[in-house]
């Protein structure tokens, strides 16, 4: 034993003694070695007390050696990187590691909150529900804050997480979950067959229990066999070996979630993602998750120093650490005896072995008391175990008690799709049920095959069958062999004669008394037991606790455990940080950004941008001296209406429609007729959904006999394309029509205003005649601009002015904006953004997204007559439903405030004057409002009952959110140039 800096360190083990690692726990410096976990290093230094319990603030130590740990949860690292509830038992030691204990007020040794332990009779299961009922108002303000403050485990870092995370996708034929003896045996077999294998294990070393035991495999020490297996697997290019990777969830179709801890074992992440969340697509998964030991409930069984026997063997054999100087063993199965032997072989003083069974023939090590048919009824030692008291009255000195209540197959992932484990009397444990996630097969201890020789064989056979099933016929050789260790057990759950509290669930502080109370109070189903006592609801999901609780409930109800049943497990197997679930989708990386072709130009002009879906569009272009957005927008509108303005309208969807039947297709898609549209002409189109509701609108240009170019609204670019593809492929597969999006291909600009033609004349090439006669309103043409660049020109107008839209290949988009500005200089051209665009379309009375809300019909929009009855089109028939054609139905009209100085609000509801603003009195609602610089006052568009007949009516526009009502007059929706003379000139 090395008595200098690590007094509990033994010889041997899998730590690298040549290198010393410094680490700090609660500010105190310790040393350990590479290969240590934080838990093994703390134990090596004699630190038994590592935390306080959840509810009673009882001193707690290290209970296990793996991820099932309920007690040894620490706050890992410090500052912004600090992470609560980190298991010391799985935290790999590195030089400079810092950790602190959690859940105490004052020092770890003297926790003020430990007062809870003394008032524990008041704090039994269900005490919240009973105690804090009155007065009702106190719950939120008084009780809950106090309870929240007192309870809980660690604290979150208050600063943003400085680490990065990533996600990824992996694919394999066979996923092997767990790299212990079964996992390695299965991996070797599957890999030798030629199948693509992923082998994942949560530990940083493969081997599982083989590292913790002294077994031999193929005549070699277990750890040596493991090393050989890993060497062989590493050399195969069809195998991916994933250390520090927890397969945490089984999802649909053979998909598994995995968390790979990339840099948690390093002092610094070096700028790389700390953890990667993988989605693994597997054809088959072999679950080799091993088994988890359980405890026995007896008085004061939670003291630091009370550990699971298998964990004690792990510390002794793998990490060369003895958890105590005087160790006693309490067991109900053969495994306990191996613990005593392993300890004695390492020179540790084993003071006693207590077996609940009377008839075992195992010999105790020399100088070890052998007590059969007895129980541990109590323990002493406030901050760490000092002695145990047996049922026969004798007291035995021990600073560590190794407890073995038997092993539970680790069925966690078998339950993720609601599979229910089944009880085995032979094993005194639940084993995987018959309904497993698709493609999952269980092998080894997880399947209830608890001995080594059988495990190796079974895993080999399972893997060979799977490989064959997947068509891999290469020989896989014979399985590795090992002896089967003694593993007899007689179920024993709790020591009835203990008068003291006996813990069942260490992490949630649930005792046998709580389980009994749950029974007494009628919460007898396992699901009720879980919720009433919180058994198994902590971050460890009760991995070491659940069965104990069930067994005690079974006793109380005088039922078998099989009849009592079990709760099941949900993902994740162990906690997954929110950061990892988020991956790299943080801040601006949350979603992609789409930029318009003239984005760079607009940015250089100081444009204010707005998100429209994923697009960033220029909303307006402020000029120096403008202090309010309205100044910029009004100026853009006025200048456009007076002379000319330019707006990037690329975001509107563009769909190229070609084919011999393209015209017929559009005739069916659009409510209005398109079949006879002439080549070189554009038409406004309205499309309906199947149910007769308006879906989208836009213009479609006929470029040639069999070639149309459709535009959609920005928001509906994708839904319309998808709808049309559906129609093409599924409804009318016989039509020769072909679609492709060209939204991104063409940069398109609206050039609006009385001088738009003059501006364009500077841009188009010789021979392009823009005169009204040659290129009238609703004309289109393929032309060239700027000396040969191909372009498409459309004479369409959203603003109500003489206007064109010109499209050039997107590569010229940014430059085109510059060109248009240069060409427009003599005409005082202005760039305008989406806000001015919106103002002008409201002035003109054009419907947009606000009006095409998915609730309105062509009739509501004042376009009922556009729904052609001379042909069939989507939505035409159902638009005739009586409910959609009521006399008192909505119609789109315009609104102006009676007091022109008042501002209108979008979303306001219309009610008659002097009537209460209630649902019963509701007559409609305002959809779009703007300040009209052309008219000098606020204007609005909206839907109101019988709107067409109500010109001149005065109603209230009520905005209940701001508690205001404005008297408005019903007017035509066409505020600006209602005759349309301007756009036809």
């Amino acid at each position: 034993m090395d008595n200098s800096s690590q007094p509990q360190r033994l010889t041997g083990g899998m730590v690298d003694r040549k290198q010393a690692l410094e680490f700090q726990f609660n500010g105190k410096s310790f040393t350990g070695h590479p290969g240590d976990t934080l838990a093994s290093a703390l134990l090596a230094n004699g630190q038994r007390l590592v935390g306080r319990s959840f509810k009673y603030h009882r001193p707690r130590g290290i209970f296990t050696s793996g991820s099932e740990e309920p007690n040894a949860l620490v706050q890992f690292r410090s500052g912004a990187s600090h992470e609560p509830n980190t298991r010391a038992t799985t935290t790999e030691l590195y030089d400079g590691l810092t950790a602190t204990s959690q859940n105490h007020r004052g020092s770890l040794n003297f926790d003020l909150m430990a007062v809870n332990d003394y008032i524990s009779p008041m704090l039994s299961a269900g005490f919240y529900y009973k105690t804090f009922m009155w007065p009702k108002a106190f719950w939120e303000k008084v009780y809950e804050p106090i309870i929240r403050n007192a309870a809980g485990l660690g604290r979150l870092a208050s600063e943003p997480d400085p680490d990065t995370y990533d996600k990824g996708f992996l694919h394999c034929d066979v996923l092997i979950i767990g790299g212990g003896p079964a996992g390695l045996s299965a991996a070797l077999t599957a890999a030798r067959s030629g199948a693509r294998v992923i082998l994942g294990d949560e530990d940083f070393e493969f081997g599982g229990r083989l590292l913790a035991e002294t077994y031999e495999v193929d005549g070699k020490l277990g750890s040596e066999w493991v090393a050989n297996a890993i060497t062989e697997l590493s050399a195969m290019d069809n195998v991916r070996i994933m250390r520090r990777t927890t397969i945490y969830g089984a999802y649909d179709h053979g998909i598994y979630g995995a968390l790979e801890r990339k840099t948690d074992h390093l002092a610094s992440s070096g700028g790389k993602p700390r953890q990667v969340l993988w989605r693994i697509y597997s054809k088959r998964a072999i679950l080799c998750a091993g088994s988890i030991e359980r405890s026995i409930a007896f008085g004061n069984n939670d003291r630091p120093g009370v550990m699971l026997a298998g964990a004690v063997r792990s510390y002794v054999n793998r990490w060369a650490v003895t958890p105590g100087k005087k160790v006693a063993v309490f067991t109900n199965n053969d495994d306990g005896w191996r613990t005593a032997k392993d300890l004695a072989d390492k020179g540790v003083d084993v003071t006693a072995i207590i077996d609940t069974r009377r008839d075992t023939s195992f010999e105790a090590p020399r100088d070890t008391k052998r007590v059969l048919g007895a129980h541990v009824v109590n323990t002493t030692g406030r901050l760490g175990l000092q002695s145990i008291t047996l049922s026969d009255g004798q007291t035995i000195l021990a600073d560590c008690l190794a407890v073995s209540g038997g092993w539970n197959p680790n069925v966690h992932l078998t339950c993720h799709q609601r599979g229910r484990p089944v009880w085995s009397d032979t094993l005194a444990a639940f084993t995987p049920g018959s309904e497993l996630p698709t493609g999952m097969i269980v092998a080894g201890a997880a399947n209830g095959t608890l001995t080594l020789g059988q495990t190796l064989r079974e895993a080999h056979e399972v893997a060979a069958t799977v490989a064959l099933d997947l068509g891999h016929i290469r020989s896989t050789g014979s399985p590795s062999t090992a002896d089967d260790e003694p593993s007899a057990i007689t179920a024993f759950w709790h020591v009835g004669e203990s008068r003291n509290r006996a813990w069942v669930d260490l992490q949630n502080d649930v005792t046998t008394k709580d389980v009994k109370q749950s029974h007494q109070e009628g919460f007898r189903s396992v699901e009720h037991l879980k919720r009433y006592t919180t058994l198994g609801m902590a971050t460890d999901q009760g991995k070491t606790a659940n069965l104990l609780g069930l067994a005690i409930m079974a006793e109380c109800t005088d039922q078998s455990i099989a009849d009592t049943g079990t709760t099941i497990f949900r993902p994740p197997y162990t906690p997954v940080p929110i950061g990892a679930l988020g991956g790299r989708a943080r801040g601006k990386d949350f979603r992609p950004t789409r930029l318009t072709p003239s984005h760079e130009w607009a940015k250089a002009q100081g444009a204010i941008f707005i998100e429209t879906g994923a697009w960033l569009r220029a909303q307006w272009f402020p000029k120096s001296g403008e202090t309010h957005w309205r100044q910029s927008v009004d100026r853009e509108v006025i200048q456009t209406r007076q002379s000319v303005g330019v707006c990037d309208v690329t975001t509107l969807g563009k769909i190229d429609v070609q084919g011999r039947d393209a015209a017929e297709f559009l005739n069916k898609i659009y409510a209005n007729a398109f079949g006879k549209l002439q080549v070189g002409r554009v038409r406004y189109g309205l499309m309906l959904r199947e149910d007769g509701i308006a879906m989208d609108d836009g213009t479609t240009a006929r470029m040639s006999e069999h070639h149309f170019v459709m535009t959609t609204t920005t928001a509906n670019a994708v839904p319309v394309f998808r709808h049309m593809e559906f129609c093409r492929q599924c409804l009318w597969p016989d039509l020769d029509v072909h679609l492709i999006s060209t939204t991104e291909q063409w940069a398109q600009f609206a050039i609006a205003g009385p001088n738009s033609r003059k501006l364009l004349e500077h841009v188009v090439d010789d021979g392009v005649d823009l005169s009204n006669e040659a290129f009238p309103f609703m004309g289109c043409a393929e032309i060239t601009v700027c000396g040969g660049v191909r372009a498409r020109l459309f004479r369409i107008s959203f603003s109500g002015e003489l206007a064109f839209e010109i499209a050039v290949p997107a590569r010229y988009g940014n430059s085109m904006m510059d060109v248009l500005m240069t060409a427009g200089k003599p005409y005082n051209v202005v760039p305008y953004g989406t806000e001015a665009l919106g103002v002008m379309r409201i002035e003109k009375g054009h419907a947009a997204g606000n009006e095409l809300s998915g609730q309105t019909t062509a009739r509501d929009l004042g376009m009922g007559r556009m729904v052609s009855k001379k042909k069939d089109s989507i939505g035409s028939t159902l638009s005739e439903r009586p409910e959609l054609n009521r006399d008192d139905g909505y119609t789109l009209v315009g609104f102006v405030p009676v007091d022109r100085s008042k501002k209108l609000t979008s979303g306001a509801h219309f009610v008659a004057k002097n009537v209460a603003p209630t649902t019963a009195n509701d007559q409609g609602y305002m959809t779009s409002v703007a300040f009209s610089p052309s008219l000098g006052h606020s204007i609005g568009l909206g839907f109101i009952e019988r709107g067409a007949d109500r010109t001149g009516d005065i109603v209230q526009a009520v905005n209940l959110l701001a508690n205001e009502a404005v008297d408005v007059e019903v007017v035509s929706p066409h505020f600006y140039d209602p005759q349309g003379g301007r756009l036809r000139d």
Binding site: D166, K167, F169, P592, L595, E744, V763, Y812, V819
Partner: protein, 194 residues
């Protein structure tokens, strides 16, 4: 005659990024055109492709190589595929790639220029699959996706067409407007594994 000049700009300005084992570069000298097969026109189109490019139209998920302009045909769906080819024959100003294809295959198909709709990148190097693993949901293992395979998929929310051009060499096409976001996704993946 206008004096105004339009300047052409690539979605990523021709940028390339290098990390150990991973190169990300914008493809700057290729055009992209979609070709749709008319109903009952497959045979005629195949004949036209055979005579112009010495190949037939690709099966879905597969690429075929044409005999001129380094053309690759990408089989994307039953009645539509893309051709990627050197744009050397097009003059910089207004050269119409769709017209070039129309010239090659006559009127056997409906063609649409897509060259400006996509950012075209090439990701290559020994570690490029490790980088793509972080964003590409499809299986790029050579046994599953080897030279001459093409797939449509989604990476970091962005529509992507991926082509395996050669071992450890992939062509990725994604919409032009989000080219910067796409490059950022590739760049982050490369940094995270390099």
């Amino acid at each position: 005659m206008t004096e105004l000049i339009l300047k052409s700009q690539l979605p990523l300005d021709g940028r390339s990024l290098n990390y150990p084992g991973i190169t990300i570069e914008e493809i700057t000298d290729q055009s992209l055109v979609s070709i749709a097969v008319p109903i009952d026109g497959a045979a005629e189109l195949n004949a036209a492709l055979q005579s112009a490019y010495g190949t037939e139209r690709p099966a879905v998920g597969k690429c075929t190589n044409g005999s001129m302009d380094n053309a690759i045909f990408l089989g994307l769906s039953q009645d539509q595929f893309f051709i990627m080819f050197d744009d050397a024959k097009l003059n910089d100003k207004g050269g119409d790639p769709a017209a070039l294809i129309r010239d090659s295959i006559g009127h056997a198909a409906y063609v649409v220029d897509q060259s400006d709709g996509w950012v075209m990148t090439r990701v290559s190097g020994d570690s490029c699959r490790a980088a793509l693993e972080r964003i590409c949901p499809i299986d790029l293992h050579p046994a599953m996706f080897s030279t001459g395979n093409v797939a449509r998929t989604v990476m970091e929310h962005l529509a992507t067409i991926i082509v395996c051009q050669a071992p450890d060499t992939y062509i990725l096409l994604s919409p032009r407007s989000s080219a910067n976001s796409f490059l950022h996704a590739l760049d982050t993946s490369a940094k995270n594994v390099a």
